[in-house]
C-alpha cells in the first residue's frame, strides 16, 4: 500500500481508523488525511428572522472560529501522530457532503486504499453526518477499509 487516504474528523470511530493507518505506515507510504467539514453548518442559521444582521454575523463568525479551532486541533493531532512514523503525509480540508467529498477525492488522486472509521453506535454523542453511505459503496473504485468502532 503506497498511497493511503485517511478519512478522519476526530470522532471515536475516526481515531480507530487513525490507529489502523499508523500501523500501516512504513517508508515509502504516503498518507493523505482528508478532513470534511459537513455542509449542514451553512444551514445553522435555520429560520432565524428576528435577529439583526450584526447578531447573525457575530454568530457566523463565532461558529467559523469554533469549527476552525476544532479542525486545527484534529489536523494538529493527526500531523503529530503521522510525523512520528516514517510515512509521508499530506492534509486536505474540504467543505461539503462527507460521502461526496470522499468519492471526489478518490477520483482526483490515485489511492491504493481508503481507511475510515465505522459509523458511531446509536445513542452515542456526535453529529449526524455519515461518510459511509450507499453513495460511497456505489461510487468508490478504491479498496475501502472500514475499521470497527472501539465501542463495538
Amino acid at each position: 500500500m503506497k498511497n493511503i487516504l485517511l478519512a478522519s474528523h476526530g470522532t471515536e470511530g475516526a481515531l480507530a481508523a487513525e490507529n489502523k493507518v499508523l500501523e500501516m505506515c512504513a517508508p515509502g507510504v504516503r498518507v493523505t488525511h482528508l478532513l470534511v467539514i459537513p455542509e449542514f453548518w451553512k444551514d445553522m442559521l435555520g429560520d432565524d428572522w428576528l435577529n439583526n444582521s450584526s447578531t447573525r454575523k457575530r454568530f457566523e463568525h463565532y461558529l467559523e472560529m469554533e469549527l476552525s479551532r476544532e479542525t486545527n486541533g484534529h489536523l494538529r493531532r493527526v500531523r503529530d501522530r503521522l510525523s512520528k512514523t516514517s510515512a509521508d503525509s499530506a492534509h486536505e480540508v474540504v467543505l461539503g457532503k462527507p460521502d461526496q467529498c470522499l468519492t471526489d477525492a478518490c477520483e482526483q488522486s490515485a489511492y491504493n486504499l481508503v481507511v475510515m472509521g465505522s459509523p458511531r453506535p446509536k445513542r452515542s454523542r456526535g453529529l449526524r453526518s455519515q461518510m459511509m453511505t450507499r453513495h460511497v459503496t456505489r461510487r468508490l473504485k478504491t479498496p475501502l477499509l472500514v475499521v470497527p468502532h472501539p465501542c463495538g
Binding site: 449542514f40 453548518w41 442559521l45 435555520g46 435577529n51 439583526n52 463565532y62 454523542r125
Partner: protein, 527 residues
C-alpha cells in the same frame, strides 16, 4: 464582486406570472376557477392585478439579468436579490391561488370529519401558509435552492419584519394595552420558567454550562433566533449548537402542524390560539406560521401571536445578559471576560420593533383610520364619516323595536334602544356597544335582532388604508414564511439529538401543555 447570476430564470418567471394573468383576464381560467369554488373563490381580485405588476417587473429585470453585463456595485447587489424574491413570490401565488384551493375542494368532497363539523383540510390546517412553508422545505431539501435565487431567498426575513412593522397599523390602543399586558404576564412566566427549568435539568444531568446556556435561551425565548444570539455569549461548542438548533427546528416544524389541529379540535378563539401559539411554540418563525395556518383568511390570530413574538424578542437581550453573567460566574475560564451590558443590549435589540411602535403611534393619530378604530373598523353615523342615509331604519323597523322594548330589563339597553328608535340610527359608539350586548343576550325576536345588526353594520366602516395594509401584511407573511421554509434543511433538523433533545423534549412538552391549560382557563375569547 458581481452578485447577479446570468440566467433566464427571472425572465421565465415573469412570463409565467403574465401567463397566469392573461389566462385569467381572457376567461380561459373560468372553468378551473369554477371548479375551485366559483363565486366563493376569494382570489379573483388578486389574480387580476398581482401577477400583472410583478410579471412586468420580473420580465424587465429578467431581460437585464440575462442580457446585460452587470457592473460591481450596489445596483448589482440589490438587483441580484430580485430573482430569488420573485421565485418565492411565484411559489406563494401558485400555492395560495391554486394548490390550497385544490386541496380544499378535494377535502370538501370527503365531507365533514366525524362530529367535528369541520373538513379535513381545516382540521389539519392545510392552507396556503402551511403548504407554502412545506413547498419551501421540499424545494431546499429535494432540489436545492438554485444559485440565482440564493441572494433573494434571504430577503424573506425582511418580508416578515416588514409585515410585523405594518401590523402596527392594525392595533387600537386598548387592544395593544390588553394584549401587551397579557403577553408580558404569559411570556414572563413561561420564558423565565423554561429558562430556569432547562438550567435546573441541565445541572441535574451534569451537562456543560455552555450547552445549558444555549439550550435554555433556545427553549425559553424564541428558538433558533435566541440560540443564534446566545451561542457566542456562553461560548457554546459547535456540537452543542448543532444539537440545540436541530432540536428546536424539529420541535418548531412539528408544533406548526400540531398546534392548529389541537386548536380546531378544542374550538379555540383567535385570541386563545394566538396566545397559546405565541407562548407554547419554541421557534418564532413557526409562531407566525401556526397563527396564519389557524386563520388563513384573517389576521386576528396573527395579531395576537405577533404581540407575543414581539414581547419574546424584547425579552431576548435581558435573557442573553442574564446568561452571560451566569456563564461568567459559573465558568472560571470565562471569568476574565467582562459582560458589556451596553453592547449586548444594543446588538440584540430588535430595531424593527421600533418600526412597529412608530406605525402604531401613527395609526393612533388617525393617519390611516379614525383614531378610535377597533380592528381597523371605526364608528361613524354622519354622512362625512361614511354613513349612508339609505341605511336609516324604516318606520316599520323602528315600530317593531318599540313594540318589543318592554322585554328589556336593563336601563342602559332601554335608553340606547330608545335613541335608536328616535333617530333611526345608532347615535354613539357607547350605544353601539350596548346594543351589541343586547343582540348577544337574545332578548328580542330574531327579526328585531336582525334590525339591530343592520343598524350596527351601517355605523361601522372599514378604513380603506387599513384594508390595504391587511392585504400587504398577508402577502408579506406568506412571502416571508415560504422563504423561511427554504431555509429549513433536513440535515440541520437531523442534528437533533443527545441531551438537548431529551431536555428540549421535556421542557417543550411542559411549556406547550401548561400554556394550553392556562390559556383555556384564564384567557377569554376576546380582548
Amino acid at each position: 464582486m458581481i452578485y447577479t447570476r446570468k440566467s433566464p430564470a427571472l425572465l421565465m418567471m415573469g412570463l409565467i406570472m403574465l401567463g397566469i394573468w392573461y389566462l385569467f383576464e381572457s376567461g380561459l381560467l373560468s372553468g378551473y376557477i369554477g371548479h375551485l369554488g366559483g363565486a366563493k373563490y376569494k382570489y379573483t381580485g388578486e389574480i387580476a392585478t398581482v401577477p400583472l405588476y410583478f410579471g412586468i417587473f420580473s420580465v424587465a429585470v429578467g431581460i437585464w439579468q440575462w442580457q446585460a453585463k452587470p457592473r460591481e456595485g450596489h445596483l448589482d447587489y440589490y438587483l441580484s436579490t430580485v430573482a430569488g424574491a420573485m421565485f418565492i413570490l411565484l411559489i406563494a401565488m401558485l400555492v395560495r391561488w391554486f394548490l390550497a384551493p385544490e386541496i380544499a375542494v378535494a377535502s370538501q368532497a370527503l365531507g365533514k370529519i366525524g362530529n367535528t363539523g369541520k373538513h379535513l383540510h381545516t382540521i389539519l390546517g392545510l392552507n396556503y401558509v402551511v403548504l407554502g412553508i412545506l413547498t419551501g422545505i421540499i424545494i431546499v431539501n429535494v432540489f436545492k435552492i438554485p444559485g440565482w435565487a440564493e441572494n433573494g431567498v434571504r430577503l424573506s426575513r425582511l418580508g416578515l419584519k416588514t409585515g410585523v412593522i405594518l401590523l402596527g397599523t392594525l392595533y387600537s390602543a386598548a387592544e395593544l394595552k390588553n394584549l401587551g399586558g397579557l403577553s408580558i404576564v404569559m411570556i414572563g412566566f413561561f420564558v423565565l420558567g423554561s429558562v430556569g427549568l432547562v438550567l435546573w435539568i441541565g445541572t441535574r444531568m451534569k451537562i456543560p454550562s455552555s450547552m445549558g446556556g444555549v439550550l435554555s435561551a433556545g427553549m425559553g425565548v424564541c428558538g433558533v433566533s435566541a440560540t443564534v444570539a446566545a451561542a457566542p455569549v456562553v461560548q457554546a461548542k459547535s456540537v452543542e449548537i448543532a444539537y440545540t438548533i436541530g432540536t428546536i427546528l424539529l420541535w418548531g416544524v412539528g408544533c406548526m402542524f400540531v398546534f392548529p389541529i389541537v386548536g380546531h379540535l378544542l374550538d379555540m378563539s383567535h385570541v386563545q390560539f394566538g396566545a397559546w401559539a405565541g407562548t407554547g411554540i419554541l421557534n418564532s418563525a413557526q409562531v407566525a406560521g401556526a397563527a396564519l395556518a389557524y386563520q388563513p383568511d384573517g389576521i386576528e390570530t396573527l395579531k395576537v401571536a405577533e404581540i407575543f413574538n414581539i414581547t419574546r424578542v424584547l425579552v431576548l437581550p435581558i435573557i442573553v445578559l442574564w446568561l452571560a453573567v451566569w456563564y461568567v460566574k459559573r465558568e472560571e475560564v470565562a471569568a476574565a471576560q467582562q459582560v458589556n451590558v451596553a453592547r449586548v443590549t444594543f446588538e440584540k435589540f430588535p430595531i424593527f420593533v421600533l418600526g412597529f411602535i412608530l406605525l402604531f403611534a401613527l395609526s393612533t393619530t388617525g393617519v390611516f383610520a379614525p383614531a378610535n378604530h377597533y380592528k381597523g373598523k371605526y364608528f361613524g353615523n354622519t354622512t362625512e364619516s361614511g354613513f349612508k342615509q339609505e341605511n336609516l331604519l324604516s318606520h316599520e323597523q323602528t315600530a317593531q323595536l318599540a313594540e318589543e322594548s318592554s322585554k328589556i330589563q336593563r336601563q342602559d339597553r332601554q335608553q340606547a334602544l330608545q335613541r335608536l328608535i328616535d333617530h333611526g340610527k345608532v347615535m354613539s359608539i357607547e350605544d353601539d356597544d350596548v346594543l351589541r350586548g343586547l343582540i348577544n343576550a337574545k332578548v328580542l325576536s330574531k327579526e328585531a335582532n336582525k334590525t339591530l345588526k343592520k343598524a350596527h353594520k351601517s355605523v361601522r366602516h372599514t378604513a380603506k388604508k387599513i384594508k390595504a395594509f391587511r392585504d400587504w401584511i398577508t402577502w408579506l407573511f406568506a412571502f416571508g414564511l415560504v422563504g423561511l421554509g427554504m431555509q429549513i434543511t433536513v440535515s440541520a433538523m437531523r442534528q437533533a439529538g443527545g441531551q438537548p433533545a431529551i431536555i428540549g423534549g421535556i421542557v417543550g412538552a411542559i411549556k406547550a401543555g401548561l400554556s394550553l391549560v392556562v390559556v383555556m382557563l384564564f384567557i377569554s375569547e376576546t380582548v
